[in-house]
Each structure stands twice: as C-alpha cells, then as structure tokens.
Point group: C2
Chain length 410, copies 2
C-alpha cells in the first residue's frame, strides 16, 4: 500500500485554488460560499476513495470505510476552513492525506478489522465563529450542538442558517462518530523541523497557553520639564515588565515561549511622558506547571510596579491547559517512521488543533511535517512535496496498524 | 511701585475664560476667533496701562511705553495662543504680568531712560501653524515674513488671510521692535519649583532637544510555534533599545531627560511575534554635547540590532540646539528676588519659549514660578496666587532696573 503521490499533490493544489479570487493567498472562512465549494470537493474525493460520506449536525464531514468489527472507529482528519489570506496546507493537508489513506486501504482490497473515518471538522480556525475548534468541540461535548448552532459570525450570520444555506446541516449526531483512536497529520507551522532538517515530527502534546492583558498607569508629563527622578513613566515601566517576561523564556525557557504581541502607550505623543501603557502577553508551555509559574512571575512583577506607585490591572483574556497525547500512539508513529528510515523529532505543538479536543476522549497523537521557514497563516506557507508525501505515508502506515488490530488482541 | 495684585489675578481669570465654550479647559488656537477675542482684551489692557499699541506684519502685539532715550527697547512678553484644552496661565501669565509692569511704571509717573515693550507673540504653541514660536522667529529673522504668511494651518487656512480676518495683519515691520534686552516671565510647567517649595526660578537657558523616530524590523511569527531561539522579535528588541535609552538618563542624566512617548508594534496581535516595531525618543539636554552623546549612544544601540539581524531605520524628526541665556540678566533677576527675600533656584527650561529666539539677538533671561504638580497643557494647570504675584513683582523689579539705566552708564 502506498500513497498516490501525484493525486495527493494535485488535490492539495486544487483545493488550494478555492477562495483565491480576492488574493493574495486563499480566504475560505468557515460556512462561506468558498467553504461550500471546498467541502463539495472533499466529499466527492471521499466517495471516490470508497468511503461513505456522513454530515453531522455541526457540519463535520465524515468519510467512513467500514471494518469487520463493530466499535469505535480509528479516525484521522483535520479541517479545510482557513484564516484570511491563508496558505494551501494548514488543515487541508490532513484532510486530503486522510482521503488518500482511505483510498490506499480501499484499493488494497483488504477488509480492515476496524472502521476508519477521515473527518473534515467545521470552523477550526475560529476566524468567522468563536470559539475555534468548533466541530471537534461539539463532537467531544465541550460545547452543546444547540449552543454552537446559535453562534453568530463576525459578519453577523447565524451558524445554523449558514450550515443550511451551504447544504451542510446534517442529520447525524456528532458524537456517534467518536473514535477509539485519533491521529491528525498537519504541517508544523513552526520552524523547528525545517531548521533541523527532520522530516517527521511525532507530536506528544499541545502547549497550554495563558493570555493576559496588562495595563500600567503612571503620570503623563511634559517630556522636557519633568526630571527623570520625578516621573512615573508608565511606558518605560511597562516595557521593563514586558522585557522581563520575555527574557525569562529566552534564558530559562520558563515558560517555553512568551510573546508580547501588542503594546500601546497613551497619550502617545513624542514629547509627552506616557501616563498609561497597555500590552498583552501570550505564555505557552507544554505543562500546566510551566504556565502557572509564568503567571506567578507576572503577578510578582506587576506587584512591584504597584509598590513603585503605579496603578495596574491584569486581565486573563484566554487560557487553555496543556494537552498530553498518547505515548502509545506516539510510539506507533515513531515505529512506522523508523520502518521507512525517516528521522523523527519528538515535539510539542505550539498551535491549537482539533486533536487536542479528541485527546479528551481517546488515545490521540499528531504527525508534523516541516514548514519552510516556519511560515503559516500566510500565502508563503510551503512544505516540500517529498515531505508532504512522507507525512502521508507515515499516516497511512500508522492508520493501517491501528485498523488491522483486532480488539481482542490488544 | 507695586503690581496690582487683584487686577493681575482678575485679568488672568478673564483671559482664561476666552475659549472655554467647548471645555474642559480653554482652546484658543492661534488666529482663530477665540484668539481674536483674547487679543482684543490684551490690546485694550495695554492701552489702559498707558502703552501705545502696534501690530506688526506677523500679528505680534506690541505695547510700547516710551523712554527718554532712543535705541532698542527693554522687552518682556510671551504669548496668548493655547494648545487644545489648555490651562489659563501658559503664556498668558507673562503677557498679563507684562501689562501690569507697564501700568505700574506708567502710574509711578517717572520717565524711564529706556523704552519698554510688552509683546504678545503670534502662534507660540505651534498647534495650528508649524513651526512653533512663529512670531518670535519672524522677529528674529529665523523665518521670513513672506514665508510665515504663506503657512497653512492644520485646518487648511492660510496664515496671512487668517491674520487679516481677525484684524491682526499689522503694517509694522517685526524687527523694528527688536529689543536690547528680553525678559520673559512664565510658569515652570515642570514640578521642580513646586516640589522644592522655591517661589522663583532664574532660568539660565533652554534645553536643546533631539527627536528621533526609530523602526526595527525582524520577523513576524506564530507565538506558539516559534521557539525563542529562532525568533527575530522586533517588539522585544525595540523595547530593550527604548529601555536602554531612558535608563541612561535615569542613571547618568545623559542626556538630562529621555522620553519614549510613542511605541507601536505590527501586526499587533496577541498571538503573533511582532515583525516590526516603531517608536520615538525625545532627548533633552542643557548642552549640545549632551545631545550629541545621546545621539551617538542611540546610533551604537541601533547598530547592535543590525548586527543581530534586524533591519532598522532612524529618522531625525526635529532638533533644536540648547540655548544659554545671559548671565548678566540672570544676576539682575536674582538680585531683585533677593531684595524681596524670595528664594531662587537657578534652572534650565525643559520647554520651548519665545525667549529662546530672542536670545539669538540680545541678552535674555526668563523668570519661572511654580506649577502645582508640574502640570501644564492641561486644564488642571495651577499656580498659587501668591506665586503669580511674586513672579510679577520680580519682573517689575528687573524691568525697572533695566529701563532706569542710561546707556552711557552701562
């Protein structure tokens, strides 16, 4: 059994052309007309591969290849909705490769012990509907179907109505498809594999994140008339704090990464000492302890500013615990890569994926392939064709092992 | 001879009510209808004080009290245009107190040796027309009259036409009023006198300033997937640079003060490592050497960022050399304060004033009075009435000495 290289690459290209009319890149936000066109393509390809296609009530598309046994299926999948001006691979790669895996197994003419499903999850990116990971959240009951269908998009459209409009309001109950194992194939979206020239990442978990908005208020002053010793410069104080937070990650990897992505000062004039500064910090760590330590350090630094006479506020914008994937499934992936003489790196995902929702209900792992320069959410997103094929082969090998194993022998 | 305390305070209050209809504070931008009302008041008060009023071609209002000798006059003055939502004292205090000085001398019935002039200069603040200090620049030939009259305001109005519209396009040549000595009375606009409880500042000069806009470009990255070691975080790099620049002033007063008043990052998302950061720095120092050292340190730090792989730009937005006032005139002011048992502090002005233009053409000094909390350019601007009267008395004493001294005895 092998992946059909040419068809995999051609289909990624074909799906990647949907939503490019207002380039650069493609914009195929969830439940838009562009999403419908992409979904129709994927559903067609699933049927061509030999799968039966089911649409559930949150619009997840399931391509099912029946096995001999009853019981929960082995699932792979990802998403085909995109961010604005996206690359062609984020999400799509896992769905299109999953379809090729079904095709390869179906074409081999063997009856697997277990049922296999490839799923395209609804609204993973969360650009048009919040929260993100919507399809996998509903399937794992993190959010109710009724609640999800009531969501309103950023452009004011009702989720349930948009699903009906594009023809993807299905009758099936999402959790009827809950798998026994889940494996998601995805581009890394970071620079690690590319920089180290390693073709396969075995993903052991997803970093947790903790997002904070911090404001520091001091006293605005004339930049010429206020001596340094009499200032309460909110801008300088906030910059020192922000630097301390990112430096902890540079020096001690505590937390693993920290980013100050927004920073503004008021009143914001060249000759006025800032009276107020507001910034955000994004902490990520593979362990919840790492996040908690970062939060403690943040609180301590903010308290020091209070002692120095500043007024401060701290608001937690969003927080997600770290996710640990199944060591057993990671080992399967590693063994399959070894059989193919593909070097691997065990790593943690910095970005969110549907797999982190599935990990709550079943043994889960992810497979990463290199992203050139670590660039993603950008038309420049690129992975070498050989790497795309290697990743799909590793997915095929892993899924084959999992579906060819009778429950009684586990 | 004494200052009429009640009238001084009442007139500051009356002038301070012009332009308050769209409060908070008063907004009396140069050459607006509000400015006209304020100018009419001041011209009326000048005449009541016994002065002849002349309007020059850039709209400066000169109240002249003739002395026995010919030759250049002794001048005091300031401005009555304001910033948006201003206090009542910035500029107005020097003009209104100058009118009271003329009134006191005129009422004393003595013929001074020298002619005295109190001048209200046009467009000192520079909010509506750039450059600032326009009236004193024209008078000292820093900018030509024709060029000044061609300026366009921020709201698109021609300077010469606005002068005509409000009735202040005079026939007199500005430099015909060039003084032999200039003394400007002003609120400090900084916290030094207030904090030290000293009523009179003898101002020995005006800090020079050097304004820079710096941009740092690195590489935008996903905040979750880019390890710290693989980042080129423009935001963090720019914050470190900005902190280094202000820290030099905190630790070594080199330069005297440094302010980062604006700071922005792009793309400016909580979960994206900034690819670009832009900020400004405002250096001030009483000496040009101090400014130059700050600029050298800035260049060195920016070069270090280049070595680290960042792309940088540096743009000088504005630069003004430090101004040194006349030691002789400062001594006169100090002696007059000592006669009245008023403690003084010799200091340097952090803000710009018309006096810095006059210092190019004649011996010049300034007198400061305390600003509560150092607050200015703000409706909260406040100086104790006793301090306002003390400052006016010191101005009266100083001007009296200067005009009662025959040229031959100098």
């Amino acid at each position: 059994m092998n992946i059909n290289r040419d068809r995999l690459l051609a289909r990624l290209d074909e799906l990647g052309r949907v939503g490019t009319s207002h380039g650069p890149g493609r914009t195929r936000l969830a439940l838009t007309e562009e999403d419908r066109v992409g979904r129709d393509l994927v559903a067609t390809w699933m049927r061509e591969a030999g799968a039966q296609v089911y649409i559930d009530s949150i619009g997840n598309i399931h391509g099912v290849l029946r096995g001999a046994e009853d019981g929960p299926p082995v699932m792979t999948g990802s998403h085909i909705d995109t961010v604005n001006r996206a690359g062609a691979l984020d999400g799509c790669y896992g769905v299109v490769a999953g379809v090729e895996v079904i095709a390869a197994i179906h074409n081999a003419g063997v009856l697997p012990d277990k049922t296999m499903v490839v799923t395209a999850f609804t609204n993973e990116e969360g650009v048009r509907y919040a929260p993100d990971l919507l399809g996998s959240r509903v399937m794992t009951k993190d959010i109710g179907v009724a609640e999800a269908l009531q969501l309103t998009s950023t452009d004011g459209e009702h989720c349930g109505e948009e699903l009906r409009r594009i023809g993807y309001a299905g009758d099936y109950t999402p959790w009827d498809f809950l798998p026994g194992v889940f494996v998601e194939l995805h581009i890394e979206q970071g620079p690690v594999l590319d920089t180290r020239h390693i073709p396969i990442g075995v993903v052991e978990g997803v970093q947790g994140y903790s997002w904070w908005k911090i404001s520091v208020s001091g006293r605005a002053n004339h930049a010429g008339t206020a001596p340094m010793s009499m200032r309460l410069d909110a801008g300088a104080a906030a910059m020192q704090l922000a630097n301390r937070l990112t430096e902890r990650s540079v020096v001690n990897q505590s937390p693993s990464v920290a980013t100050v992505g927004t920073f503004s000062v008021e009143p914001g004039a060249i000759n006025v000492v800032p009276g107020k500064a507001t910034f955000t910090v994004d902490f990520r760590d593979p362990s919840d302890e790492g996040l908690e330590q970062a939060e403690v350090a943040l609180r301590r630094s903010v308290d020091k500013l209070k002692d120095a006479g500043f007024t401060t506020t701290m608001e937690c914008i969003s927080r997600n615990s770290a996710v640990t994937f199944s060591d057993e499934i990671c080992k399967e992936v590693a063994e399959v890569a070894a059989e193919r003489s593909l070097p691997i790196l065990r790593m943690v995902s910095g970005a969110s994926h549907d797999a982190q929702m599935l990990a709550r209900v079943c043994p889960t792992a992810m497979i990463f392939v290199p992203s050139r320069g670590g660039i993603s959410h950008n038309p420049e997103e690129f992975t070498e064709p050989d790497d795309l094929v290697n990743g799909a082969e590793v997915l095929l090998g892993t899924i084959s092992r999992l579906i060819m194993r009778r429950t009684s022998t586990q």
